[in-house]
C-alpha cells in the first residue's frame, strides 16, 4: 500500500530532519562500528588472526553459533504459530497472549536469565530433582539456549502479526473451498505470503540471539572455553586488558550480525518486483 505512494515535501523541515537522521546514524551507529573494526586491526592482521585462533575464542564462536542454531529455528516455529493464532483466530485471552509475547521486550534480559536460575539452579525449584538425575541446565548449553529463546521470542512473532492481520484469512478460506487440505493451505498459501517478513524476523532474531549478553551472562557461569559465548568472551578479554582480542571478537560478533542483514538487502533488491507485487495486492 505504501509502495509507490506520492511523497510530500515539507519545506524547510525536510533538510533539517535529514541532517539530524544522518548525524544520529553516523555518530551513534556507523562511527562506533568503524571503531570496533579499527581497534581490532590496530596491531595488524596477524595479531587479529592469532587472537581469534585461541582455543577459548574458537570455543566461544562455536558455542554462539550452536546456541543460535538451536534457538532461532525454534523461535521461528513458535513465532509463526503464535502469529498465526493471533492474526487468524478470535479467542479469549488473545490480548493477554499479545502482551506475553511482548514481555521479553519490556523486562530486563538479566531478569530473563534469572528466572531460569530460579527454576533450574542448584537452589532453584527443580534444582535438587535435576541434580539427582545428573541433568545440567544452568551453567551449561541448555540454560544458554533457554535464556536466548526467552529473550528473542518476540522478534519473529512481532514481525509477522501485523502482516498476517493485514492479509486476513480470505486466501486460506479460498484455498479450502478449492479443495486444499489444511496442511497444503498452510504450505502453499500462508507460508509464501509471509516469507519475507518471516525471513526478516528470523534475521533479527538471529542477530539478537548471537549478541545476547544479559540473560546469557546470568546462566552461563563464565566457564572459559565451555560456557562463554562470544559476547561473554568479549567481556572476559576486555576485563583482562586484552583490547585487541576483545575488539577482534567484537568484530566477529558484529560481522555475524551484519552479514545476514546484507544478505537480506541483496535478496530484497533481487526480488524487489515480486516483493512489491505481493505487498501491493
Amino acid at each position: 500500500m505504501s509502495v509507490g505512494a506520492p511523497t510530500v515535501r515539507l519545506p524547510g523541515i525536510a533538510p533539517l530532519l535529514l541532517t539530524a537522521a544522518v548525524a544520529v546514524m553516523g555518530g551513534l551507529i556507523i562511527l562506533p562500528l568503524l571503531a570496533v573494526f579499527h581497534d581490532a586491526f590496530a596491531k595488524g592482521l596477524s595479531v587479529f588472526l592469532s587472537s581469534l585462533k585461541e582455543p577459548d575464542a574458537q570455543a566461544a564462536i562455536r558455542l554462539t553459533l550452536l546456541v543460535a542454531a538451536i534457538s532461532v529455528p525454534l523461535n521461528a516455529v513458535f513465532g509463526v504459530a503464535s502469529a498465526w493464532a493471533i492474526a487468524k483466530f478470535e479467542f479469549k485471552g488473545k490480548s493477554l497472549l499479545l502482551t506475553l509475547i511482548d514481555l521479553p521486550f519490556s523486562i530486563s534480559p538479566v531478569v530473563s536469565g534469572l528466572v531460569w536460575v530460579l527454576l533450574f539452579g542448584a537452589q532453584g525449584y527443580f534444582g535438587e530433582w535435576l541434580l539427582d538425575r545428573d541433568i545440567k541446565i544452568i551453567f551449561a548449553l541448555p540454560g544458554l539456549v533457554l535464556a536466548t529463546i526467552l529473550v528473542t521470542f518476540p522478534f519473529v512473532a512481532r514481525e509477522l502479526i501485523p502482516l498476517m492481520q493485514d492479509q486476513g484469512s480470505d486466501e486460506e478460506a479460498a484455498a479450502l473451498t478449492l479443495g486444499a487440505s489444511g496442511f497444503t493451505t498452510f504450505w502453499k498459501i500462508t507460508l509464501p505470503n509471509i516469507r519475507w517478513a518471516l525471513l526478516y524476523g528470523v534475521l533479527l532474531c538471529n542477530a539478537r540471539a548471537m549478541g545476547e549478553f544479559g540473560a546469557v551472562s546470568v546462566v552461563s557461569g563464565h566457564i572459559r572455553g565451555e560456557t562463554t559465548t562470544l559476547p561473554l568472551h568479549v567481556e572476559v578479554l576486555y576485563n583482562d586488558y586484552d583490547f585487541v582480542g576483545a575488539f577482534a571478537a567484537a568484530s566477529v560478533l558484529a560481522s555475524l550480525g551484519l552479514s545476514p542483514l546484507v544478505l537480506k538487502t541483496i535478496l530484497e533488491w533481487r526480488h524487489s518486483g515480486e516483493l512489491a507485487a505481493s505487498r501491493r495486492h
Binding site: 473451498t177 478449492l178 505481493s278
Partner: protein
Amino acid sequence: MNSQPAGDTDTSRDALEIRGISKAFGRFPALKNVSLKARDKEFLALLGPSGSGKTTLLRVLAGLETPDSGEVRFDDEDFLSLPVRRRKVGMVFQHYALFRHMTVAQNIAFGLNVRPRSERPSKSEVADRVAHLLSLVQLEGLQKRFPSQLSGGQRQRVALARALAIEPRMLLLDEPFGALDAQVRRDLRRWLRELHDRAGVTTVFVTHDQEEALDLADRVAILKDGELVQLGAPSELYEAPANPFVYDFLGAACRLPGEVAEGRLRIADWETAAPKGAPQGKVEIFFRPDEVAFAPADGAGLAAEVRGAAARGPKVRVDCLIEGRLMELEVHGRDAPAGVAPGLALRVKPLRPKVYPATA
C-alpha cells in the same frame, strides 16, 4: 425489472435446502432460524442491509462457519457434515482473495493441482482447462500476470474462473460487484448472468444492492437482522412487498399515515377505494415517488405544494410538500404538471398505494 425466463427452473427440483439455521457470534445473533430452498440451476440472491446475516449464511453454505443449529442439504446430502474441501462449492470472495504470490494461471489451476494424486488431471489437461476458463472469462493473454497487475474487474473474473475450475456443485458469490465502479458493475452483471446460464450451476449470491438483486436473480431472499423476511421472484417482491421494510428496501418510498374503514382509504382530506386485502383501522400508506399522477388544485388527490422542480434527463423531479412532509416525486417530462414552479398548489394521486397496518 426482471426479464429472465423462469420457465425451466420453475419445474425443476430443489437442489439446496436450508432448514432452521441459527448462528450467534458471542451474544450477537447473526442468523435466526433461517429456512429456504434453492432450485437446481437457480440464481438466488440473498439481499439485505449490512448486518442482516447474508454473508454469514453464505459462509455457512461454504463450510467456513458452523451454524449453532439447523440443517443444510444439497442434492439430499447432509452438507454440514462435509468439511469445506469436500463440498465442492466455488466461492468468490468480496475482495476476491486471489493468491497474491501466484500468477493468474496458477490461481485458476490451484483447485486442480491440490487434488489427490489419483484424481489430479495431467499437466496438459490442467493447461487446457486453464486456457478454456481464461477464454470463458475473456482474459486470454493475461495468464502470466500477478493479481496486483490486474484491474478490479479482471480480478473478479479470475476469482470466478478459479471457482469454476473445480467444476463446483454450487457457486457462492459474496458481494461480487461490491468493489467495482458503477459502469464495470453493470457490464459484469449481464455477463455473469449469461455465464451462469451457460454453466448451469446453482448459484447463491449475496448483495446489499436491491437493483442488482432484482436485475440478476431468479429469486431473491430478503434478510433483515438475521431473519428471512421474504422470498420470491423479483417481480413478486416488487409488486407485493410483505411489509414496510421490504417496500422501503426495494426502492425509494413515500409514506403517509391514513385510515381504512368500510372499503375506503382515507389520507388527510382525500378518499379513495382501499386496495384489495388492505388492513382495517390506522394504516401506513406507501407509494413509489414515480408512481403518481398530478391534478390541478381543485381536482382529486392529496393536497400538495410544489417546493422545487428540476429536469433530470428524461425525467422531471418535483419536490412537493404533502401533509407536512417533503417528497421528491419523479415524472416523465410529458407528464409534468403545467406551469410547475415553486409555490404552485396542486393535487398528487398515488397510482398504486400499498397499505400496511400502522406501527405503534
